[in-house]
Amino acid sequence: MYLVPPPPDHDSPYDHSMVDRTSGRGAGEPLADRLRQVAKGDEDAFAALYDETAPRVHGLILRVLRNPSQSEEVTQEVYLEVWRGATRFDPSKGSAIGWLLTMAHRRAVDRVRASQSATVRDDTWHARSRDVAFDTTAEQATARIEARRVRSALDGLTQVQREAVSLAYLGGYTHTEVASLLDLPLGTAKTRIRDGLIRLRDQLGVTP
């Protein structure tokens, strides 16, 4: 389900020196160790995991859903699922933060699409006119050096690539909805999304 390649070969699967800072991947990733503790029922480890990841998880969900109380609900669902399903996390298949955020994004998007006809997406006009240039939550995010690095990589994309990636991931739209929002011919948004992601990957030095 979560398709990422195994980490580079090295002797100890829990060698902290092997952490890849860029992707957070590596079997010695501190978060992966925490998840192992969580799987054994360690509530303190769970609290620490929450403190380390909640801003990213909640921020992503809030960005997609926009509704604060719904976002809190989904954030709670995600962490309960992390608590229940920590045994299913497999460090050889990817980073812990990737696992968590994939789950968070999927749930947020599922919530959006399940209530497509209801209130959540009624604000089409707002969606159209809202800022998609990654700076509405800049204050909270710029404190993080990583965020600044990502922001500058985003500046290196074409405007269409940047908007397409942003609307798809942070807006939770399908590529056909993105095409409509950006007045692109049907079928070209997916190409812009892919081109944008590949460029980000290369600029940020993400190694699989």
Binding site: L3, V4, T22, S23, G24, A39, E43, F46, Y50, A54, P55, R56, V57, H58, G59, L60, L62, R63, E72, T75, Q76, E81, W83, R84, A86, T87, R88, G94, S95, I97, G98, H105, R106, R107, D110, T137, Q140, A141, R144, E146, A147, V150, R151, V165, A168, Y169, L170, Y173, T174, H175, A189, K190, D195, G196, L197, I198, L200, R201, L204, T207
Partner: protein, 260 residues
């Protein structure tokens, strides 16, 4: 067609595909190493994008979540247990060995018996029942012919065979298989809302009785291309699972269809 699928890799990583496209792309991923490598590498970008929108949740949420986990049991680890259930095609009496085997492994049934084992007994019993109830294939007339997705090709195949079952809630579950294409489509209508954070997951039961995930059915009315070896499958099941999916069924099936 193939070029078109390649170009979906980015949208797949960002959850920006429709359910049908997602199912088609997942099938494609199983075959296309280039796309697998690309998807793997692009997955590393999304955690970085999330950095740019980090927002601390309200402190009360932390307290709520910590309180909730204290009263929530954790799932057992995933272990490889051979023969999760008896094959669907078996006769009703064949359910007995599965139960007997479970009993030898766990002489006393207490509340620590892994849910999976308890479920596998239900699977065996229900599988036997379903084998009696569900009849052979009937041809099913396809009405819509809008696009040429793999799902549509299966539904339109000249050798398409259909099996059908009804859920307790009155929903309809159909499996349409084309042996020429070696693929099958699961189509559901009027399923009950699986509940918050839940989704339906499809399973293939192989000839040894093991259940293998065939993908998530993310809607209560719609269709999906079943993943996996549909030609070798003895049956198709549908269970309610956490929306992220489970490695093995964790609840009794809402529908179980023997492919005869």
């Amino acid at each position: 067609m193939s070029d078109d699928l390649h170009s979906l890799s980015g949208a797949f990583v960002l959850d920006a595909l429709s359910d049908g496209e997602r199912a088609d792309f997942e099938v494609h991923l199983g075959r296309c190493e280039t796309c697998r490598d690309e998807v793997d590498s692009l997955r590393g970008v999304t955690p970085l994008l999330a950095e740019t929108v980090a927002v601390s949740p309200p402190p009360a949420l932390r307290a709520d979540i910590m309180a909730a986990i204290r009263t929530t049991r954790q799932d057992p680890p995933v272990v490889d247990e051979p023969a999760a259930a008896e094959p669907v095609a078996a006769e009703p009496v064949a359910a007995e060995p599965a139960v007997a085997q479970s009993d030898t492994e766990a002489p006393t049934e207490t509340n620590v018996v892994p849910l999976r084992r308890r479920v596998s007994r239900q699977w065996a019993a229900l599988a036997a029942a379903a084998a009696l109830v569900v009849g052979g294939g009937v041809t099913w007339q396809v009405v819509e012919q809008a696009t040429t997705s793999i799902s549509d090709q299966v539904l339109e195949a000249s050798d398409a065979q259909t099996w059908q079952a009804t859920t307790d809630d009155g929903g309809t579950v159909r499996v349409v298989r084309s042996d020429q294409m070696g693929k099958a489509v699961l189509r559901v209508e009027g399923l009950a809302d699986p509940g918050s954070g839940k989704a339906y997951q499809a399973w293939l039961q192989d000839s040894s009785g093991s259940m293998v995930s065939a993908g998530m059915m993310t809607t209560t009315d719609g269709e999906m291309l079943l993943e996996g070896d549909v030609e070798g499958a003895a049956g198709v099941g549908l269970t309610k699972e956490p929306a992220a999916g489970s490695p093995q069924p964790t609840s009794a099936p809402v529908a179980l269809i023997a492919l005869g």
